[in-house]
Symmetry: D2
Subunit: 356 residues, 4 copies
């Protein structure tokens, strides 16, 4: 007679093919298989729990997701408040702006001759192309916008809110920046200087030495204050990079000023990097616990997959299964129009961490 083991609770259930199954059903069937398929299914369940809990959900976004065709998924997540605060690389916001302004990225090939592309001033992102002249023109558009602003330092959060507003008024088109403006979802961009948005700002400064002032240090204070104000938080990370660390840093920094914080309560990341080379992008969520970035009992999952494969399926499923939860969600209301944010009508202290 076989003895039972505490390790052998639930059997793997082989995925059964159903022609044209719906996204939600696909993930439901993937919950009982193995490896990254199961992890992707788990990611859906954890995101549902984030939404059902009273927590602030950060979304980090690195890698060429906007150029690669995922920007309207992110806009959807913002508009419908699957997430409450975006942290992004500059490139993802820039490529979003590019398309919102009516330009395109193009389907290309990873094997094209780059000298030939260079000769035609076409820039390649793996299998995706764009026109360099349109990028230059974007930079000038950003510079022109920056020159319309009162010359004083701006957090990236304030600057990007105003950029989204300007873009919405000029284009009336959907995208990440415009969705965040309309939904009053803050966007932080800690590495803005490492992007074409930064380049546009440097070109504004060329014309007016008082233009293009960005106060990235105040972003640290403000992002920590978002957590101090409501210490129940969750983290959804696409691709690692500076957004992943910045979201964790906000929690650590908040903890420094308020010992009630305790790290994110939920975390999911979709990454292609691996932990064993020591870099932050690939670092495990287990490791994050040692730093207090993540609560030691947090529900978490890492999906090792390209976001262009995982995200369309994940969000299409979630849009079905989380509909009611979303409808009942009461997320924080941000006022992003000024140098100092307000949350649910109550402003943050100016340039300081919020007192406990």
């Amino acid at each position: 007679m076989k003895t039972k083991s505490r390790f052998l609770r639930a059997p793997i259930e082989p995925f059964a093919v159903e022609a044209d199954a719906a996204a939600s059903d696909l993930l439901a069937r993937m919950e009982r298989i193995s490896f990254q398929g199961r992890n992707l299914a788990t990611a859906r369940r954890i995101w549902e729990k984030m939404l059902a809990d009273d927590c602030t959900i950060f979304l980090g976004m690195a890698g060429a997701l906007s150029a690669g065709g995922l920007r309207m998924i992110v806009a959807h997540l913002i508009t419908h408040r699957y997430v409450d605060c975006l942290v992004s690389t500059g490139a993802n916001l820039y490529h979003d702006l590019h398309e919102t302004r009516g330009r395109h990225h193009y389907i290309g090939s990873p094997h094209e001759d780059d000298k030939a592309l260079s000769a035609e001033h076409i820039d390649r992102v793996y299998d995706t192309y764009a026109r360099e002249d349109e990028f230059c023109e974007n930079d000038e558009w950003i510079a022109a916008f920056a020159l319309t602003l009162e010359p004083r330092p701006y957090t990236t959060r304030e600057f990007l809110h105003k950029l989204g507003e300007y873009l919405w008024k000029e284009t009336g088109r959907e995208g990440i920046l415009t969705a965040a403006f309309k939904a009053n979802v803050p966007i932080f961009c800690p590495a803005i200087a490492d992007s074409s948005i930064g380049m546009g700002l440097s070109q504004a400064r060329q014309r007016d030495p008082r233009a293009g002032q960005i106060d990235v240090i105040a972003d640290i204070t403000e992002s920590a204050n978002v957590i101090i104000r409501h210490p129940r938080t969750a983290s959804v990370v696409l691709g690692g990079g500076t957004p992943k660390n910045f979201i964790n840093q906000a929690s650590v920094q908040a903890e420094f000023f308020d010992d009630r914080i305790g790290g994110h309560r939920y975390a999911l990341q979709i990454v292609t990097d691996v932990p064993h080379f020591g870099g932050a992008s690939g670092s495990s969520l287990e490791e994050a616990r040692s730093w207090g970035k993540l609560a030691t009992d947090a529900e978490q999952v890492t999906v090792h997959a390209d976001a262009t494969v995982a995200l369309p399926l994940l969000v299409s499923a979630l849009a079905g299964s989380a509909r009611e939860t979303l409808a009942g969600r009461k997320p924080m209301r941000f006022d992003l129009s000024g140098p100092t944010m307000a949350v649910n009508g109550r402003p943050f202290p100016q340039a300081r961490f919020e007192a406990r």
Copy 2:
């Protein structure tokens, strides 16, 4: 004024979220995004073309797909003749047999203490567990089956057909081996000696020195003959390994005896390995052209993704969109019951390559 470029034909179309979109629609929307999402969508289109063309489709299967919950997808592909010939590692057939015999793999954790698992005789495959005593009992079952066979050399193709028959008669359960038996789809297992099926055969030999004779060299001849008989072929590879190479080798070997072959006409692979370390599992389909494994004008795509993420979505979509094509398909009919295969009623020459 902007000039047009031959490189800028089709714009990226951002993926638009639709709640609970069907698999087929998900992939249709992914055709116009970038990176591996686009590649997965392309894989569906190429597979559809394989099915619409008059070609023999090989399926290669490596990695822990059966233990990991994908065995009923493969069985589905066999039963409905999305594929015509399977090349597999021994482990995938063994773990299929394990479940067809009514045993289970179990949902586990990649972080469990392996000493504790070892103490309970539980074997771990990343996040999946199995009982070692059940594996030992499988080995004996295989040995017992092998002892029922007339003592002579068997190709893996003949042996696995008879194993599938025996399994079907004993269990009446669906799985890869039983589906292949019932559909008369040949299975080759070039590295059978590197698997628990091989271990079972060595245990049969322990009891009878004439048992467990496997003629892996005759598999080479027979697999090449499949191609010489009908030189229009396609390759679907999951995970690289010996199946990937064996499918290509069959084409190269066929070419050696018949210069009409010209390589596979279509190829798709879903792999996690990368090309730049030089290994065959991660090798590119471009490289395969230099060897003549692939026709120089073959339609091909590599999807860099875990099969547990990619395959459920891909096959669910294909099951919808390829239904009619499948219904009209006239694949080769194999007779696998004897030492020599017959195709569409005409046997192969015994132990020799087919004359042109």
Copy 3:
């Protein structure tokens, strides 16, 4: 008779083992093998060419290289002017500061229980540990330093030069920051807000609202000016991230103001990311050509390896073989002491791109 092919010029020469061969000899033998071994050997040759040419060499540094034991290699590269300008993540500078201040990182295990580590306030970076209380104390030390500065905006370049000076005067110890101070090698840190240095600055601001002003946009101008002043440049990248892009952006931004630039003349990168997911860290140097980041005829190589394996061997070899070239090198002399850099005695324009 065999015909010759233009493709078959030089045979692979199998690596011959010599007990305890010297680093330079190891790489010389690896030039004639394949895959990443050959690429690492090629990296040495390309770096030698950079040093022999009259060009400004940028070094980008991402990943946990300082915590992981490579900071004295980077300090060596700076002191001996194998490189002329460092672009780094904040974390690498912070972990360097940590050790220069006499603290340590510790040899750990990737399999330790993170709850146990968390309970002892030990932070884990894969297989490496550090004390959280020491990190907190560093943050305060940085804040205290920031409060000593005249309250005005600083580029990261100016701020880090002053930080290196302060650190050298306080500790007299070698490290990246102190070596760069002593050698007058500029350091840019475009994502300083995404690091503990940024956290320290936000804590300075907590005490004095005028403290911790960082002008990351002026860094863009200044880094481009370094290239406009001397358009012959080279790029050495460890690990991708913001430094990789910032070095390329500087070239693209310089080109915007001066069409003589033409991209980096040489490039080598040691990365673990792959190109096929579309992210910048893993992007190929071929792709960089399409953007004009790299001259179309640039000599370049990508080494797919962990820097902790590749860099010790590469720099130990280069230190032997490039000794004479280094001795004869006449790199640009930077004056980094003020808000505006001077190069070879001639200052940059204030807050503006240099006129052609």
Copy 4:
């Protein structure tokens, strides 16, 4: 006052550059850094322990190591008995034979046009080329050799020993097969049917239906007997694949017949695959413990690196530091000349597992 932690024992010691340091010294300095650099240094220490202990050392070899320029390192390891038994893919033995027969692989480019290569009948392995006509001629040479053998089944171990003998007598050149012949080191090739050696054997059979009989099941018995005879074993794995599993399978199979086995006492693997997709090539050595493939207290290390980078450094260092240990080593003496192996003069039972 700081409290001590059991976790913080040994500090990271930054790698100090010494011009042209010797291989052994490089690795000694890498023992105190992090990530894969530390793991490579640990691999040297573990291999030294294997050599100093009274154990049988298996070497597994997968990936294009012979074509890629590492075959003379493997020959060195065999000749000097750093290892006692080789398990290899067929391709590595075939590419070794190719060069021992005086042919070459060539330095190529991963970016060459594969149609152009195909037109000139040049086969590409990532950045390495070879002439297809020379490969065809090898196949015929193998077929001709196989036809000289008495027509009966051969284990791969016996066949490869005779092949090495024939090759040595014909060429007098060093290589893996000839070194193994001369040193009486057994070679197992469980997936021989998935290689050009298998293709050569199928061509021999074309001429004589009794030729090319390979008994891969007897290899299972014999490899397990090597362990039953001397249950203290170690495993060195390059690149995963069938050799990795076969070495572990031998231990598991031995355990089945003799419960004193207990798994390998030491294990090191140099792999580029990762564990989280579930495949055997990337599987962790922790996981191997759950199966009993590895003793639960075994010393083990995984190095995530390309063997073309890691192996030249590792073996050059080991050749220095292990010289004395090697000189005093008393490895098992194999007699490989017949259908049944003998060890230290005592033959294995014919076609059966050794009795305890």
